[in-house]
């Protein structure tokens, strides 16, 4: 069977929920960040697939993907700055230790 839109959507959904699973179960902040990257990539894949199969006459999906990649890069940089900061103050990047949110 020729791969089409549905195949790619399946792939992106799978990647999305794998990312979510990682985000929910990982205790290390860096690995949680990796999971977020997975989620972002699955979204990108979705945009590209829709652009390719449904509206090939436009390039909106493509641009969205480009911008998401740019934002993801910025996000990763800021996130890592925060993680390193947290590591300095708590001496750990275990998310279980970073539970100051409850105060």
């Amino acid at each position: 069977m020729e791969p089409g839109l549905y195949h790619i959507l399946f792939l992106s959904t799978a990647l999305f929920f794998i990312g979510v699973y990682g985000f929910l179960t990982r205790r290390n902040l860096i690995t949680m960040l990796m999971s977020i990257e997975l989620i972002l990539n699955s979204v990108n894949l979705n945009f590209i697939a829709f652009n390719k199969y449904l509206w090939p006459n436009q390039m909106d999906g493509l641009f969205f993907t480009l911008f998401i990649i740019a934002i993801a890069a910025a996000e990763a940089a800021v996130a890592i700055a925060i993680i390193i900061n947290l590591y300095r103050s708590h001496n750990s990047i275990d998310v279980e230790n970073a539970e100051d949110l409850k105060y």
């Binding site: 860096i30 690995t31 990796m34 997975l38 911008f67 740019a70």
Partner: protein, 186 residues
């Protein structure tokens, strides 16, 4: 089954398998490498979809940038070779249940939905077309988002520097203050 199909399936399998490995392995360094493979697999799918520019950006930014950043931060914060702490089993089960439910729901919705394709003439996403569109100011042009993104990147840059700088000055007293405050509240 054509060679093209086989390549897609191979790439898809590669992505899913390495993504799974990436979120389940207990070696953080390996997780980063598995993520790298997943990202490369996704880049492959972009190639397969003939969106070469996006694929290139994917490799340059993700593989060359973000993953390297992540590995860099791992070296800064973690003793490599150490295994990651185990998550509680109930959390894992509950997360798996939620994730599976969400996945099932989404897939059911996708397969029940009929997507309508347009009949208009396709535009080839060449670098030239992308570039023109990106800087176009007429309707459908992306000049404004482009500028906004550039501002965002600048803000992120400055933000990172500020976060890093502030901490460097007086780390020690701040830690103590913080802990004492928390004790008081607890």
């Amino acid at each position: 089954m054509t060679g093209s199909d086989i390549i897609f399936y191979l790439l898809a399998t590669l992505c899913v398998v390495f993504a799974l490995l990436s979120v389940t392995t207990r070696h953080i360094f390996r997780a980063a490498i598995y993520l790298l493979f997943t990202l490369i697999g996704i880049a492959g799918i972009y190639f397969w979809l003939q969106y070469e520019f996006i694929a290139a950006v994917q490799i340059v930014v993700y593989v060359g940038g973000i993953v390297v950043l992540i590995i860099f931060s791992i070296f800064l914060t973690q003793q490599t070779g150490e295994q990651l702490p185990k998550q509680k089993l109930d959390r894992k089960i509950f997360a798996a249940l939620v994730v599976f439910a969400g996945f099932a729901l989404t897939m059911v919705q996708i397969y029940q939905h009929t997507f309508i394709e347009t009949d208009e003439i396709a535009i080839t996403p060449t670098v030239e077309n992308i570039g023109k569109k990106m800087l176009a100011v007429d309707s459908g042009g992306y000049a404004l988002p482009f500028e906004v993104i550039s501002i965002l990147l600048l803000a992120a840059l400055i933000g990172c520097i500020v976060i890093a700088l502030r901490e460097k000055k007086n780390i020690e007293p701040q830690i103590q203050d913080d802990t004492e405050e928390h004790k008081g509240i607890v």
